[in-house]
Symmetry: C2
Subunit: 308 residues, 2 copies
């Protein structure tokens, strides 16, 4: 059982999709990552910050999944990071209606002593300087440091982003962001270029079109499971990352083959996350459901052609 | 060695992409289908129509691939179907600059007697009434009838399209067209609905995002091979269809497993087609190159997770 350190937001989301809308519900990258990773035999901790308005029942939920919350700072009188968004009809694009950073504006992550030797560090999408400060606190080099980021930091903190990605092993990024970061339209070329910037592994997320894993001359592709209904894509990318990181932490396998399996597990868990609003589907997801869907993933992609 | 009957356009294309432009070059659905199918041990024929302006060297090229051209009508004094288009920078969309139907406007396909017992019929994108007249000429029910179509016929000949698809086994269609035909956004639901309209198999082409094969409760997915450069997407869908149809004709295997392999072979050949303008890459494509890339397809998608 490996140790997984998760750094990212624990937040309130308010979501509208073509299928309905929510009040303020539990959200945030670290939340989705933690719930997904809890499907594996890992010893995990979340480092994050919330306000006094965060409901105890949400924190109890995370704790009930075996997630160490000693690195979760609760700011007296503070308010939790809040995001409100509305998805368009195709669910592939969305408008952000409100973003309130609140306590997140002053987030200064403190890694708990008992996780300074974590095997895997999963850095959720945050300011790259915040991500860097976590790496600096580690007492030994983790087996795998995974970093998620987005175009906002390329626009607003590119030097800091360029710096932190020198120190990581895996970057997860979407196709448009990979193009923006490298100026290459071809994802093959973009992934090659990113590997020269630091990470040995590049995961390019394409949403409903699946995910690609690049490493040296190797490429692996995992589709998204075709679903009858996608209800709410919020958190799908973080659930993918949590499944990916959780699998690696549980197995300790950081080879290309190990990370291939991690991509499949991440895609598999993300396919559940989108079936309900927010974290609803992930809160009570059972191991037998996960295993059943892994079989579907296998039949979806495996073929048997005699090669010459 | 099975018999494959191919019905579709033999045409002139004039293409502009971000990487350059061509004069009038050989194009047309039947051309790409025939070239792709010639990678397999099939006895194939093209039924089509051209004008007197069609170059003999182009016809010689097709004949050199073992394609029977006795069903190719050459109209004296007539002009060949001509399409001119320009691709946008991302190569995912294009503008049609000129379409001249010419002889295609009066196309009345006559199936040669020696192909009225073809094992596989591949109906390229044409007016659905023209596609239907080919089915009507067959002397025995082919093992597999595959039909390609597009949104233009949904807009302009929906009753005829609805009629012909009652008589076919496999429809190939892109994602947007599947949605338009059924009114369902979810591709899973769209494919279910299309199966109630006639075809037992539904192939949904997603271009650079791969292709899905649906049959009853089964789904199979083949990615497009991630390429360093895509040069010219013209004919990629027809090359896919030609590889699909050619494989089925060569093996006679119309089971779901057989069609899974057909999808892989089609995707594999399409990955070559887009590397050069028009038919250039397909004209001299060698078996060892095809086999090598099949290995890449396998490593791209195959994984080994122990399932419980």
């Amino acid at each position: 059982m490996g140790k997984l350190l998760i750094v990212g937001t624990v937040a309130f989301d308010e979501i509208e999709t073509p299928f309905g809308k929510t009040d303020r519900i539990l959200g945030g990258a670290a939340t989705f990552i933690g719930l997904a990773a809890s499907q594996f035999d890992v010893d995990s901790a979340i480092v994050s910050i919330v306000g006094e308005d965060m409901d105890q029942e949400h924190l109890d939920l995370l704790a009930s999944k075996g997630i160490d919350l000693s690195g979760l700072e609760i700011v007296k009188g503070g308010k939790t990071f809040y995001w409100k968004g509305k998805y368009h009809n195709d669910l592939n694009s969305r408008d952000t209606l409100v973003t309130e950073l609140n306590t997140l504006a002053d987030f200064n992550p403190i890694v708990p002593n008992n996780f300074k030797d974590a095997d895997v560090v999963m850095l959720g999408n945050l300011h790259p300087s915040v991500q860097m400060s976590v790496i600096d606190q580690m007492e030994k080099r983790p087996k795998l440091i995974i970093l998620d980021t987005m175009n906002f930091w390329m626009d607003n903190a590119l030097p800091e982003l360029t710096d932190v990605i020198k120190h990581i092993d895996v970057i997860t990024i979407n196709d448009e962001e990979a193009r923006q970061l490298t100026g290459e339209y071809s994802l093959v070329k973009a992934a090659e270029k990113i590997q020269t910037m630091g990470p040995k592994f590049v995961v390019i997320k394409k949403g409903e079109h699946g995910a690609l894993l690049f490493h040296e001359d190797n490429v692996f592709f995992a589709p998204a499971l075709p679903l009858e209904e996608v209800f709410d894509p919020t958190g799908a990318g973080d659930t993918f990352a949590g499944g990916f990181a959780g699998y690696v932490a549980a197995t300790g396998n950081t080879s290309f083959n190990g990370l291939k399996n991690a991509v499949i597990h991440g895609s598999n868990l993300a396919s559940f996350s989108v079936e309900r609003f927010g974290t609803e589907r992930m809160e009570n997801l059972e191991r037998h459901e996960v295993n059943k869907r892994l079989h579907q993933f296998k039949t979806l992609t495996q073929f048997d052609i005699e090669l010459k």
